[in-house]
C-alpha cells in the first residue's frame, strides 16, 4: 500500500495524522487558556452527557480542535439489548461538538442493567461474534456514522475461544464496515499477559480498517509470583510500547494517535510532551517514506 492511500484510508477528514491528548476535567482550564498545539482532543463521551461547564467547555474547544468521542459504556459485548437512550446521548453530543471520530471497545461492562465500569473480556467465539457484530451495526445505524472499535487489555483468556483477538477484530470490521482503534499499549499488555507475540498481533490486524491508535502507560504487578501487566493509564508510555508504536506507524502510515493518561494525571505540559514523542515518531515515518520515494 502506498503512503497516500494509507493516509487517505487512515485519516478521516478533520483529524490530522498527528498526536492528540485525552482531555480530562482537571485540564479543562489549562487547555482553554493555553491552547496547546496538539492534533486533536479525545474525551470519554459519558462525562459530557449533562449540561453546565463540561459540555460548554468541550463545545468551545471544538471550535479550535477536532474532537474524538471515546465511549466507555455502550457495552457492545453484552449478550442483551443495548441502551438506546445512551446511543441517543452519544449522537446528540457528536452533533453538538461535530465529533470527528466516535469509538468504543471490544468488551462488555454491563449485564442485567448493572454497570461494572471496567472493560471486561469476551470469549472469542462465533456466539460473541454475532453479538458484537449486531451491536456494532446497531450503534452505527443509530449514530448514522462509522464507529471505531478498540482492542482491550486483557488479564484472562477463555478456554472455549475459537479464534485469536485480531481475527475477531478483523471479522467485526469486515462484517460491519466499522473502523478499528488499535491500542498499542493494550496489544503489548495482553500479549505479555498471555505469552503472545505483540508484533505478530500487530501484523495480523487489517491495516486498512485502522483509523486511530491509542498509547498509554501500564504498570507491572506480581500475581502468584508471576508478572502481570495492568493497563491503568497511570504513567508514561513504556519503552517497549514506543517500539511497538514505531512498528505500527511504519505499517499503517501516519495516523491520528492519542496519548491517554487517566490516573496520576500529570501537568498539561507533561502530557503534551508525551504526545510530542508520538508526533516525532509519526514525522520520522513520513520522512522515511519520502526517502523511499526519492530513491
Amino acid at each position: 500500500m502506498s503512503l497516500s492511500t494509507a493516509t487517505a484510508a487512515a485519516t478521516p477528514d478533520s483529524v490530522p495524522a498527528q498526536a492528540g491528548i485525552g482531555l480530562r476535567h482537571v485540564h479543562h482550564r489549562d487547555v482553554l487558556d493555553g491552547k496547546p498545539k496538539v492534533g486533536f482532543l479525545e474525551v470519554h463521551a459519558e462525562n459530557y452527557f449533562g449540561g453546565g461547564a463540561p459540555v460548554h467547555i468541550l463545545a468551545r474547544l471544538a471550535e479550535d480542535y477536532p474532537i474524538s468521542l471515546h465511549a466507555v459504556g455502550v457495552s457492545l459485548g453484552t449478550d442483551g439489548p443495548l441502551d438506546r437512550s445512551h446511543l441517543a446521548c452519544i449522537k446528540a453530543l457528536a452533533k453538538r461538538v461535530e465529533a470527528s471520530l466516535v469509538s468504543d471497545h471490544l468488551s462488555w461492562c454491563m449485564v442485567d442493567g448493572v454497570y461494572l465500569n471496567d472493560l471486561l473480556p469476551l470469549p472469542y467465539t462465533e456466539e460473541s461474534l454475532s453479538v458484537v457484530t449486531a451491536h456494532v451495526d446497531e450503534m452505527q445505524m443509530a449514530l448514522g456514522r462509522e464507529v471505531l472499535i478498540e482492542n482491550p487489555s486483557s488479564y484472562l483468556q477463555f478456554t472455549h475461544s475459537t479464534m485469536p483477538e485480531w481475527e475477531f477484530l478483523n471479522e467485526v470490521a469486515r462484517a460491519t464496515g466499522c473502523g478499528l482503534l488499535l491500542d498499542v499499549n493494550n496489544i503489548y499488555v495482553s500479549a505479555m499477559n498471555h505469552g503472545l507475540d505483540a508484533g505478530l498481533y500487530l501484523d495480523a490486524v487489517n491495516a486498512g480498517a485502522v483509523r486511530e491508535i491509542h498509547l498509554a502507560g501500564h504498570h507491572v504487578k506480581e500475581v502468584a509470583g508471576t508478572t502481570l501487566r495492568i493497563d491503568d493509564h497511570g504513567s508514561a508510555v513504556a519503552p517497549a510500547v514506543w517500539a511497538l508504536f514505531e512498528r505500527a506507524a511504519r505499517r499503517l502510515g501516519p495516523i491520528p494517535t492519542l496519548v491517554e493518561w487517566d490516573s496520576n494525571i500529570p501537568s498539561l505540559p507533561d502530557l503534551v510532551d508525551e504526545a510530542g514523542k508520538a508526533d516525532r515518531i509519526l514525522a520520522a515515518v513520513v520522512k522515511e517514506h519520502d526517502r523511499v520515494v526519492v530513491a
Binding site: 449533562g50 449540561g51 453546565g52 460548554h56 449485564v111 461494572l116 456466539e127 488479564y155
Partner: protein, 264 residues
C-alpha cells in the same frame, strides 16, 4: 455454561461478591496464575475505578473519614449498590443513605447529610442545561395574582435540610481550608443551584426551604407561601420571590388559572 449471557452473569456476580463461581473458573485458562487470580484482577480494577469515582464526588466525606475508612465504606457500598448507569460521574446516589445505615460511621451523625450535600452539588453540576427566567417577566403580573402562579425550577436546583451545620462543615473541608469549622449555625437549609456554569450554595432558612420545597413539588405560589408562613409568620413572599428570580433558579412560570397565555 450454556451462553455468553450466563458467562457475563457469573463474571458480574464474581466481581461483586469476590467469589467467582466454579462454572466460570472452569472456562478461564489457568497457568502460573490461577483462574481466580485472573478474575480478581478485574474485580480490583472495577473496585478501584468505582472507589475513585466516589472519592471525586464525595471529597469532603473522604477528608472527614480519611482514606482507609473511605475505601472500607466504598467497598461495602459498591458490592451492594453497583452502578446502574454507564455515566460514572452520576454514581453514588445512594451513598448518603448507605452511610446513615453504616454502623462503623455511626459516631459521625452528620456524615450522611454532608454526603447528601456533596451529591446535590454533583447532580447540580451535571444537570441538563435550561434557560433562566428573566426576572422582568413577572412584572406584568399584579402582586395580587402571585398566589395563582406556578414556577418551574431549573434542573440544577436541589434542596437540603439537616439538623447539623453541614454548610460550615463542607466549607471548612474544602481543599484550601484547614478543616476547622465554626459551628454556630444550629442547622442547615440549603439551596444548591447552578448560576451560569458555577454551582452555588445559599442558606435559605427553614421557612425559605419549605417555600421552595413546595414550589419544587409543583404547588401554586400561594400554597408555597402558606407553608413558609406557618414556620415564619414574617416570611415575605415578594422579597423571597425576587431573590430567587435574581438567583435564576426558575426556567419559567405558568398561570394555570388564566385561560390566555402563561405570562412567560
Amino acid at each position: 455454561m450454556s451462553s455468553l449471557l450466563d458467562l457475563q452473569r457469573a463474571m458480574s456476580a464474581g466481581i461483586l461478591d469476590g467469589a467467582p463461581p466454579a462454572s466460570l473458573l472452569s472456562l478461564v485458562r489457568a497457568d502460573a496464575i490461577p483462574a481466580d487470580g485472573r478474575v480478581r484482577v478485574y474485580r480490583n480494577n472495577t473496585f478501584i475505578s468505582l472507589t475513585e469515582a466516589l472519592k471525586a464526588t464525595f471529597p469532603v466525606v473522604l477528608r472527614l473519614v480519611g482514606d482507609g475508612f473511605f475505601q472500607f465504606a466504598a467497598d461495602a457500598f459498591i458490592r451492594h449498590n453497583p452502578p446502574t448507569s454507564p455515566r460514572v460521574a452520576l454514581y453514588g446516589a445512594a451513598f448518603a443513605d448507605f452511610l446513615s445505615a453504616f454502623d462503623p460511621a455511626r459516631h459521625l451523625p452528620y456524615l450522611p447529610d454532608v454526603a447528601r450535600l456533596e451529591w446535590a452539588i454533583n447532580e447540580s453540576y451535571h444537570a441538563v442545561d435550561a434557560s433562566m427566567l428573566d426576572p422582568r417577566a413577572i412584572a406584568a403580573v399584579p402582586i395580587a395574582r402571585y398566589a395563582d402562579l406556578m414556577f418551574i425550577p431549573h434542573p440544577s436546583c436541589r434542596l437540603i435540610a439537616s439538623p447539623y451545620p453541614i454548610e460550615a462543615i463542607w466549607r471548612a473541608n474544602r481543599p484550601d481550608r484547614d478543616g476547622a469549622a465554626s459551628l454556630d449555625a444550629p442547622s442547615s437549609h440549603l439551596l444548591v443551584h447552578r448560576y451560569d456554569l458555577d454551582v452555588r450554595l445559599a442558606e435559605i432558612g427553614r421557612a425559605g426551604h419549605a417555600f421552595l420545597a413546595a414550589i419544587v413539588a409543583g404547588s401554586f405560589l400561594g400554597r408555597a407561601y402558606e407553608d413558609a408562613a406557618r414556620i415564619d409568620p414574617d416570611f415575605e413572599l415578594a422579597s423571597a420571590l425576587s431573590g430567587h428570580l435574581a438567583r435564576g433558579i426558575f426556567t419559567t412560570f405558568v398561570n394555570p388559572l388564566q385561560s390566555h397565555g402563561d405570562g412567560s
